[in-house]
Symmetry: C2
Subunit: 309 residues, 2 copies
């Protein structure tokens, strides 16, 4: 994979422009089909009806496009997605989502009122604070590690050595080696359980997470629910009817089918089987988290981090 012909970087720490990226105003997206971060951006592009050019970044161990030195110039963390618009490079899914709102205000995926926008950002903030990493932890422990375990030691060492993000690398190593016994898994599940409770609580009074408007809050959270569903873990929110209904309503939107289901085949027999194999252990950990919460007096009842009630 070469990015040489596509991108030329001018100046130092300033605007970066592509040199041969086609016509003015063109949108290109460096992405991977099943990346939750890429899914969010594709959802936004589809809801806004924006045309874009796909630049596929293959993260398989034999390719590792995301660690290609030319890609690292676009995205120093070595992650997808990266958006190119009108020659400008924009990174980090949550930043890209706000960028698309600023650059293409209509139709809006931000609520109109400042207060509802603040509610929206309380949700999107959870992604960068932990949920995205937690989702990766669950995915690695449940299913993705089996791909890694098949790789030879030299390939694997090369892969880890090239990862620019130390925390991501260390987490991956721990999760790939320990699987469902990873010390990182209970915390990841606990934080998901808390957020699922907050979603259920919020939807008791509103159609969407930030009020009556489908917004970046819904887009930013739903991809993680879909991710756990693809690992056959949807039993975990069987007792949360509002969350289930919200998830179904989003899945029925035309944008969802177009950019999640069309792009990411999450129904591979191996993934489904790994998920089914993991379910008993995950179910047990999830239930234990209940017990832990109830044994601590200050947490005798659910308190929503979003509204304080």
């Amino acid at each position: 994979m070469s990015f040489d012909s596509e991108v030329r970087i001018r100046g130092r720490c300033e605007m970066v422009r592509t040199s041969e990226s086609g016509h003015e105003g063109m949108i290109a997206l460096y992405h991977f089909d099943r990346s939750t971060a890429a899914q969010k951006v594709r959802l936004s592009l589809a809801e806004k009806g924006l045309a874009w050019e796909s630049r596929y970044v293959d993260p398989s161990l034999s390719k590792r496009d995301q660690h290609d030195p030319e890609y690292l110039k676009l995205n120093p963390r070595g992650v997808v997605p990266t958006l190119i618009h009108d020659g400008m490079i924009v990174r980090e899914s949550q930043v890209i989502l706000e960028y698309l709102e600023d650059a293409f205000p209509e139709p809006s995926l931000r609520p109109a009122s400042p207060y509802d926008r603040a509610r929206m950002r309380l949700w999107t903030k959870l992604v960068d604070e932990g949920i995205h990493v937690d989702s990766r932890t669950i995915g690695q422990c449940v299913a993705m590690r089996f791909v890694t375990l098949q790789a030879d030691a030299v390939t694997l060492k090369k892969h880890y050595d090239a990862m620019p993000e130390e925390t991501r690398r260390d987490n991956d190593r721990i999760n790939n080696e320990a699987g469902l016994d990873s010390p990182l898994l209970p915390g990841a599940l606990r934080r998901f359980k808390k957020i699922f409770g907050d979603i259920e609580h919020t939807l008791a009074d509103a159609r969407w997470l930030a009020g009556n408007t489908y917004s970046l809050a819904d887009i930013s959270l739903v991809v993680y629910v879909s991710r756990l569903e693809s690992f056959q873990l949807s039993e975990l929110w069987d007792n949360l009817p509002k969350l289930k209904d919200w998830h179904e309503r989003i899945k029925q939107r035309p944008a969802y089918a177009e950019v999640i289901e069309k792009w990411g085949d999450t129904t591979s027999p191996a993934r489904i089987q790994h998920g089914k194999d993991a379910l008993p252990k995950v179910r047990m950990l999830w239930a234990q988290l209940d017990a832990n919460v109830l044994s601590t007096s200050r947490n005798l009842r659910h308190r929503c981090d979003l509204c304080g009630r």
Copy 2:
């Protein structure tokens, strides 16, 4: 401290309105003088020339206002600041900063162009991803732990038990006990060193972090530089002239003196002495981080996470 008369909560997970908070449009800020998160919000209020009412949240071990059950209804994480505007409750400093931009657009602390706004948000995102927690780690290890060490065991246990944030509690416990030997300290310093390098690199080509406009990026980062300075650690960026100049230019703004220096007395003799005592060890850790970076081939040169160069 009672918040009863100030706030009445309606409904469930929805808009929360104060009942006796004075006239329409009033701004009140629950804050603590030396909190970096509160400093950011006060900086924004001052730059915008907005009047606000102070509601002081005393975090000392004998008061612990931030763990008061009534305050936890306003702020479930038990942290400052919390903004009340026109009866609405807004939490989390980075969310509050964007809220103030949406509610009071002029004068703007967000750059005009979508691309520069994205650059701004790449910076502010670093705060929630780690720098805020890292700043707390450094502060506890260097100086704040000495206050905690003076508390009796019962008071301390009560304090920890009441902390709703597990990660914050666990970090505090580790840092208070281990001080400069805390296993969390080297990582915190390393991430600061990386970000300081990125700031220096960015300012080589632009007056402010997100281009030619003083923005939320500058406000969100400068408070952490000032925090380390208050611990007598400014020697750490002696070799970064652009960062030093940027810091000085912000300190010269009228808003800075009004809401940082007036509000937070960071010149207590004890704090200064603890900082001076810690400097040799911190200096050594900081220098070792250099060695570590240089020994890894992929990091032979500085790569800016903001621009990829």
